[in-house]
């Protein structure tokens, strides 16, 4: 067993926030006495990542994912617990450590707004001391993989969200980090762009053996990239294991949306009827029976349209959480 690239043990992060009631009286009172409240954003999580692993880091909004990523990349100081990445303590922000990692946040930009992305790339070459040869080669590869040719020379402010995201990712990977933290890399992007970025992440991992920890609200991202997932909720670890196992274990159902044009039909014999609006039924069916039920629906009823879906990731997590507290 190789030693882990990322090691987290009993990690805590507590924020102290001040709060007060609304109104003038409360405002005056808060001048003299501030009420503070401690909020545990991360509340004792532990997991390791082996070299070259791509792990999905899941949880609803406010679960503590971003806080954890920030502790892993050295932006936040943990309140308690151990973190080590590539043998470094992240918050010390040693240069050698910073040169080996990248944190890409979906909505933050490290590219300089008013000038072409290529200029920001050149600056990164100097900042990370990338040898010119390596830089040229990698830039050519990234340009090809992410199809950047036509966007590199335009000012960043004129790029679309998707084009900008591709440039952000390229900028973050020019120094070929061995550890990459991706926080919602596909948020707000259209399906084609999501797929391209997904393919690219897989390719980067394959080619450079990079260890990748990725958060996403898109189940498709996680399914395409991650064999293993770590699920947290309210700062606590709820699940750590194979994605297949998670889905099997916590969502033994599929959803079938079937458009019949009318809500008069009785579909109770096919599965659990969740709802019916404007003639569209939503059925919940045990996974193993999906194919059989679909077949029956199509054979028995005047189906206009039919769609089989996995429950959304939030629902999976909700189930994991429900299971945990039950």
């Amino acid at each position: 067993m190789t030693s882990p690239v990322i090691h987290i043990h009993n990690l805590h992060k507590t924020y102290v926030v001040s709060e007060r009631e609304s109104g003038i009286l409360a405002a005056v009172q808060s001048l003299f006495h501030r009420h503070t409240k401690k909020i545990a954003a991360v509340d004792g999580i532990s997991f390791d990542l082996a070299p070259g692993e791509v792990v999905g880091f899941l949880g609803p909004n406010g679960a503590g994912k971003t806080t954890t990523l920030k502790m892993l990349s050295g932006l936040l100081h943990p309140t308690e617990g151990e973190v080590s990445v590539l043998g470094h303590v992240p918050w010390k922000r040693e240069k050698l450590f910073l040169r080996q990692i990248a944190l890409v946040m979906g909505q933050r930009n490290q590219l300089i707004w008013d000038i072409p992305a290529l200029d920001s790339f050149e600056l990164n070459r100097a900042i990370y001391r990338i040898p010119t040869e390596d830089y040229r080669r990698l830039l050519a590869e990234l340009t090809e993989l992410l199809e950047l040719e036509s966007v590199l020379r335009k000012p960043v402010r004129n790029l679309s969200l998707g084009e900008r995201m591709k440039c952000e990712i390229a900028a973050a990977l020019l120094h070929r980090p061995g550890v990459v933290f991706l926080d919602e890399p596909t948020i707000g992007l259209d399906v084609t762009m999501q797929r391209r970025i997904r393919t690219f992440i897989a390719e980067y991992n394959r080619r450079f053996g990079a260890t990748i920890l990725l958060t996403s609200h898109y189940m498709a991202d996680v399914e395409a990239l991650c064999k293993r997932v770590v699920v947290i909720h309210h700062g606590r670890l709820l699940f750590d294991g194979d994605l297949a196992e998670l889905v099997q274990k916590f969502t033994p159902y599929k959803t079938i949306a079937v458009q019949l044009g009318d809500c008069q039909f009785d579909l109770r014999s096919y599965g659990d009827v969740v709802s019916c609006t404007d003639g569209q039924f939503t059925l919940r069916v045990p996974k193993a029976e999906t194919a059989r039920v679909t077949e029956r629906l199509l054979a028995d009823l005047p189906v206009i349209d039919l769609l089989v879906e996995d429950p959304p990731i939030e629902e999976v997590i909700e189930r994991v959480f429900a299971q945990e507290t039950a």
Binding site: K70, L75, H77, K95, L98, A102, E122, L123, R125, A126
Partner: protein, 267 residues
């Protein structure tokens, strides 16, 4: 060392490109830098004429020399970092900077220097034009120009280091504009911006000697006007060096604590 040279070369290229994008902003800063001393110049010249040609040890034409020189010195030494730091913290660009394996101060130095290289020729032309209008009494000896180079560089270094340090107040408070206001008032009076320091009461002059502000603006101006003897100039450079060292120490200490606070409360 080679890596740092390379970094600066690239930083300059980048910030040059940026500054050329910000032409309008630079022009507005420049207008401000021309108008402010111009107003003082007109006020003091008028005061001098109405009092028989001089106020204190400054004649009308010496006021013109003082404020036109000050225009250039102020332009060479100013920074806008105190307005920008809070924005960086609020909008997360500081986080991006902290993830890079170089200190964020390097990009600020490059920004400042390149913006000045772009605007300085225009400022010199404007000052020369105003000189035709106001007939400044300016005839410095050649050694002054030589001495002015290190003195101006040191003046910029002091102002940059102190303003960079003060800007970090944004790590602890959201009301940095109040701090900025106090600072700018102190600079206005104690650096020689609003009037030559020799026109102030003795107590203010002593205070100015012992505070950093005069060494950012007033001292280089007086040197260029030929009002400072060579020995005084040498001592002055010594004082400037001392302020630079103190500024560096302060900046490092505040930065270390600031980043610690930042990473404790949520980057």
């Amino acid at each position: 060392m080679k890596a740092l040279t390379e970094l600066y070369a690239q930083q300059f290229k980048t910030t040059f490109a940026m500054m050329l994008q910000y032409r309008a902003a630079l022009a507005i800063w420049m207008i401000g830098h021309v108008l402010e001393p111009l107003i003082y110049l007109v006020v003091w010249s008028t005061a001098a004429s109405s009092r028989g040609g001089s106020v204190g040890d400054y004649s009308t034409r010496e006021f013109a020399a003082y404020f036109l020189t000050m225009m250039l010195v102020n332009h060479v030494t100013y920074t806008w970092i105190m307005w920008e730091f809070e924005y960086r913290i609020r909008h997360g660009s500081l986080s991006a900077a902290l993830l890079r394996p170089v200190h964020p101060i390097h990009s600020d130095i490059a920004d400042n220097v390149s913006s000045k290289l772009i605007t300085l020729p225009f400022m010199i032309i404007i000052a020369a034009g105003l000189a035709l209008l106001f007939h400044p009494n300016l005839s410095p000896s050649p050694w002054v120009f030589l001495a002015a180079i290190p003195v101006l560089l040191l003046a910029f270094a002091i102002r940059f280091l102190f303003e960079w340090t003060l800007a970090q107040a944004a790590f602890w408070t959201t009301r940095v504009s109040a701090i900025n206001q106090i600072y700018f008032v102190l600079v206005l009076f104690l650096s020689g911006q609003i009037a030559p320091l020799s026109l102030f009461p003795r107590s203010v002059q002593i205070a100015a000697e012992w505070l950093p502000f005069r060494w950012m603006i007033g001292f280089p101006v007086e040197l260029l006007l030929g009002r400072i003897a060579p020995v005084q100039a040498m001592t002055g450079v010594g004082v400037q060096v001392a302020w630079v060292i103190l500024g560096l120490i302060l900046l490092k200490a505040v930065w270390r604590r600031g980043v610690r606070t930042y990473s404790a409360v949520g980057a």
